[in-house]
Subunit: 427 residues, 2 copies
């Protein structure tokens, strides 16, 4: 038993040191000892191996503070890469990041639409190949592929709990298919969680390591980061703020409940309401739902947003109503998580964020439960459209850089390693 | 800089080892090495000191698995104690626990009511003295006093954001006053968070270390435990599910928002509705709000619950309506946290839990967003009335037993300890 447990401890000390170096930018070995609590001998060994593997480089010396000038270490940013893929009905976004999480290439292609899953996977494999070859990075330096999607995905198999527009992906073993098609290890997560990770890794949230990313794409969700780690809950489905009830007898939602904010005010609801108003549908250039080409919710939502910007009062009213509902849901989320920072992100907020931002801000300023203790800062993401893909790549990097504490939980096999566990006495 | 940082690392290795021993019940030194990732030398040193301090004892040997039989270690349960105090308008509950968190004495006394804060503190000091002396524990073996209350309390000073019934406690330096009056170090937290900790420490939730305690006392709140640690958010106010909006144009809540579940369906709302119905108020034995003695919300809520049990249809209807709202708020909480377990606790659920439990269960079975991935178990606490006080004592014990990872965060003073930090490159 001690073999695997020790291997985990070693892997995690390496990962912890890498993550501290990444977060610090540059740091000395003494700095690493202070930051991790490891002994000097451990730091020395781990750092030597990281340098041997090319992941870390020495980068000059700190200025003297009286004693010996200390050698500074930093990540060798271009030693490894990760692919991030954000798969959605409306579009597929790809990024290639270096070891520090900086984007070195990105591209957007047509969404999954109504295509058959195997055909989409084949196309994705070709597009990933083009992304990596386009910047001349050797395949052997790509650590893996992070895949994020609404769904959410289950950790080991295909997609489940799929939203209506992707129902035909249900039970398709997407991870495995993509792994076979690309030859890269695949890790997956849901898009809202990835968006939060992406905001954190791309530096969009400054020093804040505990915050929520309120994500609006085709649906509404949230990604939760606590101390820089994604909070995923029991099954990777944490953050489903879109299914917060704002009206106990409200309209039925596809999730089975009533009055969910997504059903009341999500992009699909906005588009449906716009289509139901003939004059508005015409003014916004929507096809009335009976056109030959069924456009995506995101594209239709963008059309409504453009109509609102042109001063179309019906479109403006729809968006403001949606924003008010989203703001109240954001308040519930802020009250439960006691947030200091909320980032508005995702494709639909990339389009209409300027309408939503002031309404969410006003609601939190006025009615956040703990406003006497602190305000909640609300920001529009600087990378609302690509944050999920960046987060997808970060998932891969985290598997190399995962913070130490993951390795420090009481192992589940502890009972096995203890021959005669005595029952714990309790009250 | 390295001085304090090292001290923290040492303190936290001691705390981590203590916590692993507590969680395991009995464990060998080899087991500790596997569980913590520390070296044999570190474990040997830390364990020797814990034994010298009387906190840990050797307790025989494990059965042989071929090699040498290993010495087992366990907490010396009666070496240290902690006092837990749950202060509420309606009652004050006291517990004394041993180092393992088991309750060795408990008592309930009159609530804070309308008394002046200094008078209440003086009374509390006397009651704490009686509690400790009653079981013959020397004052020097009491680590400290955990104080929990609705409020929530701020970490360093008095109570703020006080609910309406305790408004006269606002800005009173409760922690300091109680510390002076008892001579014990005081740590404080809000009652819902403490209730979750109490459920965890009293073994009421089995192996689940990630769950929410839905707390209903005078108001509605929730305590969130993630991997056995309280999730407190930015200011200790996480879990404020009582201020989830269930009706955007609903009744105004004391928090400033509209349609909060606490305003729609909390014990105060139930009691107010019962009082407004003369026949029901008479049947339930409520004084109509104009009696000489103003009874507590909890006592009145208990009277309505008794009326419902006697078959009074109006009382039954009020409780069922309240339960339905609470169930929908519980679903929002479960969707955001992706819960596997929800424990119903707190004084009002100790009284009326049997009405609320089936309604919350039914709602989560039917409409929890991730029900295809896993169910949410809903349980009624076995110690709904004392869980907050047990959790208060656990706060004190955690300051001795705090898991290691708290000491492993990148220290905020890292920049200071690094003379010349180079700006991190980003995209």
């Amino acid at each position: 038993m001690s073999g695997p447990a020790r291997a985990t401890a070693h892997a995690s000390s390496r990962a912890a040191v890498l993550d501290v170096i990444r977060a610090a930018g540059t740091i000395s070995r003494v700095g690493l000892i202070n930051a991790t609590g490891f002994t000097g001998a451990t730091i020395s060994t781990v750092v030597r191996r990281l340098i041997d593997d090319g992941l870390v480089v020495e980068t000059g010396r700190a200025e003297s503070t009286g004693g010996k000038r200390r050698v500074l270490l930093q990540l060798n940013q271009s030693s490894r890469y990760a692919v991030g893929v954000h798969l959605d009905h409306a579009g597929i976004t790809y990024v290639l990041t270096n070891l520090g999480g900086s984007v070195v290439a990105r591209m957007s292609r047509a969404g999954a639409g109504a295509e058959d899953p195997p055909a989409v996977v084949e196309r994705m494999a070709g597009e990933v190949g083009a992304l990596v070859e386009g910047v001349g990075v050797g395949r052997e330096r790509v650590l893996g592929l992070g895949l994020v999607s609404p769904g959410p995905l289950t950790p080991t198999s295909g997609m489940r709990l799929t939203p209506p527009l992707m129902r035909h992906w249900e039970d398709f073993p997407l991870d495995r298919a993509l792994q076979e098609a690309t030859g890269l290890p695949v890790v997956s997560d849901n898009d809202a969680t990835a968006a939060a990770l992406g905001e954190h890794w791309s530096g969009g949230v400054g020093a804040s390591a505990t915050f929520a990313a309120l994500y609006m794409g085709t649906g509404i969700g949230a990604g939760l980061l606590v101390d820089g780690m994604a909070y995923r809950g029991a099954s990777g489905n944490a953050g489903e703020i879109g299914h917060s009830c704002l009206a106990v007898d409200g309209p039925r939602c596809w999730c089975g409940a009533r009055g969910c904010v997504e059903a009341l005010a999500g992009p699909s609801a906005v588009v449906a309401a716009a289509r139901a108003d003939r004059a508005l549908a015409r003014a916004a250039g929507l096809d009335g739902g009976s056109g030959r080409r069924r456009s995506s919710v995101t594209a239709d939502f963008a059309a409504v947003t453009r109509a609102a910007r042109r001063g179309e009062p019906g479109a403006r009213a729809l968006l403001e109503r949606s924003a008010r509902y989203l703001a109240v849901a954001a308040r519930t989320l802020a009250n439960i998580m006691d947030l200091e920072l909320l980032v508005l992100t995702g494709p639909s907020l990339a389009i209409a964020g300027s309408v939503y931002l002031p309404v969410v801000r006003e609601e939190l300023d006025r009615a956040f439960f703990s406003r006497a203790a602190h305000p909640v800062a609300v920001r529009l993401s600087r990378s609302a459209a690509t944050a999920p893909a960046i987060g997808a790549a970060a998932l891969v990097l985290q598997s190399e850089l995962v913070p130490l504490r993951q390795g420090l939980r009481l192992p589940e096999n502890l009972a096995d390693s203890e021959p005669a566990p005595v029952e714990r006495s309790s009250a």
